[in-house]
Structure formats: structure tokens, C-alpha cells
Amino acid sequence: MTTRIPIVERILQANDDLADQVRQRLDAAHLLGLNVMASPGAGKTTLIQATVDRLRESLRIGYIDGDITTTLDAERVAAYGLPVVQINTGGDCHLDAAMLSPALDELTLTDLDLLIVENVGNLICPANFRLGTHLSVLVASVPEGDDKPFKYPGMFRGVDVILLNKIDLLPYIPFDVDRFLHGVRVLNPGLATFQVSALHGDGMDAWTAWLMDRVAAKRP
């Protein structure tokens, strides 16, 4: 004979609890944390480089890179002279709060205004794992197609801001911006969207101005 025990516990509650601790550490240091997610090749690293290039005179920025094995992305961003921490997930398809927490120990958080965490390139797995950062940023790109919100609804559910990257390719690729934005807004009403070309700079001023306001709001 067996006994049934009701539980009703969220499976990823332990990660969420750790994420709350990460959030407390970031808040105590009065810095803004970003979790940047996207598919491989959407332009995450290029977008981060372009963001850092525009903000490094006015903000103290730290960068944590999550990758499966390489340090290629970290080297690209380290060229801007920021404190950089590499997390190699050893095959794991996403970062979680337990991986981020020790990486924070490598940085002097009180010396930073903005912490950019670049997640593993993947449009499915990172969505489930909160990191404790303040803003989840999804980088989507024109060559991926305007159907991505409809095909990967989970990923578009939990983010706070979407950057549609590579808009310089709009004249060459069939991509219905209205269809894409409609899908995004249904899944995630009220989120902020920016259309940018990280490579050529289109739209980057609007995005970085928005980000500067968010950073300023964190200051004591």
C-alpha cells in the first residue's frame, strides 16, 4: 500500500531562491544586472561590444560570459578593458543562478554600475532558469525570421526587453516586423522593444539611452 503526499512545489524553486540571493547582492552594490539571451549567431556579443563602446566613458561595466567551452566571446569584450569573468558550462546549454553566483565573487561589484551577463547561445533552455539579474534581454535577429515568437513562445515569455538586431538586412530578407512585434506583445505585454543594427549603429542610441535611465534608477 502506498501513501500519496501532495507537494505542489515548483521544480526550479531552488534555482529561483538562489537567483533571489544573487539579486540581493546586485542590489546591495546598487548596480543593474542584464541577462542577455539569444540563439547562436543573433549577434549577442557584437551587440554587447557596441553597447559597451557607447557606455564605457560614462559607466563602470563588468561582463560575465557563459559559453560551453571557449573564451572567444570573452576575449572580444575584454579588448574594451572591462573586468571579464568566463563561465564554461562544460556542455550545459544554459546558465543558472548556481553558476552565476561564484562568478560574481570574481568581481568587485561595488566598483560597477552595470553588469552584463551573456548567456549560452540557445533559444530554449535559458528561459527556464532565472539568474537574479534585473533585466532579461532577448536579442532576436532579422535572418532568424519573423516567426520566432510563434515557434519559441517560452523564450519570449519571460524577458523584459527585446532587441531586434540586424535591421540593416531588412531590405534583403523577407521579415514582417509587424508580425514579429505582434507575436512578442501577445506573449509579453508591455515589454520594451528596440530595432537596432549593432554592427552599423542604427537604433543603438535609443537602446543605450533607455539602459542609462535604468542604471541611474539603481543608484542610491
Partner: protein, 121 residues
């Protein structure tokens, strides 16, 4: 492949509750998984068979209660499932003003255990 991390958490939660209840064996774990949680049942089962070995949860049956992603039309109130939707419009009135109404669930609903007294012949 994030199913490994999810499955490890399932095992931890089940073992913790089983220990509190003085279980000698866990026989079933009932999961509620929404469509938007993007979890593959077979993948969870695969990892489960590996990581539950040599625990009191070894051999426990995993059952998955699937919850479809649902949407609600703000114009006419119609509720519909996400399946087959390629443009997020109400299939009843065609209005694009729709919101997600369900499908984010990812939780353990209950487990079934055997305790020493009950298992005695």
C-alpha cells in the same frame, strides 16, 4: 538538454519530501508540465533512470500531466489553445488582441511513497 538540470531538481524535491514522511521507497512522481515550459518527457525519463539509481526513488514511475498553452481573446472572451497558431489571433473572431492564459506550469503535484509500517508483510 536542460532536462538534466530539471530532473535533478525533481529528484531532490522528491527525496526531501519522502524523507520527511519516513518513506522507504518512492513509487510515483506526478509532474505538471505546461507546454510553454518546453520540457521533453522522454528526456526527463532518460535522465531519471540514470540519476535515481541507488536512491529510494529508483524505479519510481514518472507521470506527466501535460497542460496545453492556452490563450484568451480580449475582444470576445474565447479561450483557445496555442497548437496550430501561427499568428496569435482569435480563431473565433479573428481579433489580434489575445493574451496567454496558461501553459507556464513546471511543478511536482504529488508523490506516492511506501513507509516501513505499510510495506511490512
Amino acid at each position: 538538454m536542460h532536462e538534466l538540470a530539471v530532473t535533478q531538481r525533481v529528484l531532490e524535491i522528491a527525496l526531501r519530501h519522502a524523507q520527511t514522511a519516513d518513506a522507504i521507497r518512492i513509487t510515483r512522481i506526478h509532474l505538471v508540465v505546461g507546454q510553454l515550459a518546453t520540457i521533453v518527457d522522454d528526456s526527463v525519463q532518460f535522465y531519471w533512470d540514470l540519476i535515481a539509481q541507488d536512491t529510494i526513488a529508483q524505479g519510481a514511475q514518472l507521470t506527466f500531466e501535460r497542460r496545453p498553452a492556452t490563450m484568451r481573446c480580449l475582444a470576445c472572451g474565447e479561450t483557445f489553445t496555442l497548437s496550430g497558431q501561427s499568428d496569435f489571433r482569435c480563431p473565433h473572431c479573428g481579433d489580434p488582441d489575445v493574451v496567454v492564459a496558461g501553459g507556464d506550469e513546471l511543478q511536482i503535484d504529488h508523490i506516492e511513497i511506501e513507509t516501513a509500517e505499510l510495506a511490512a508483510p
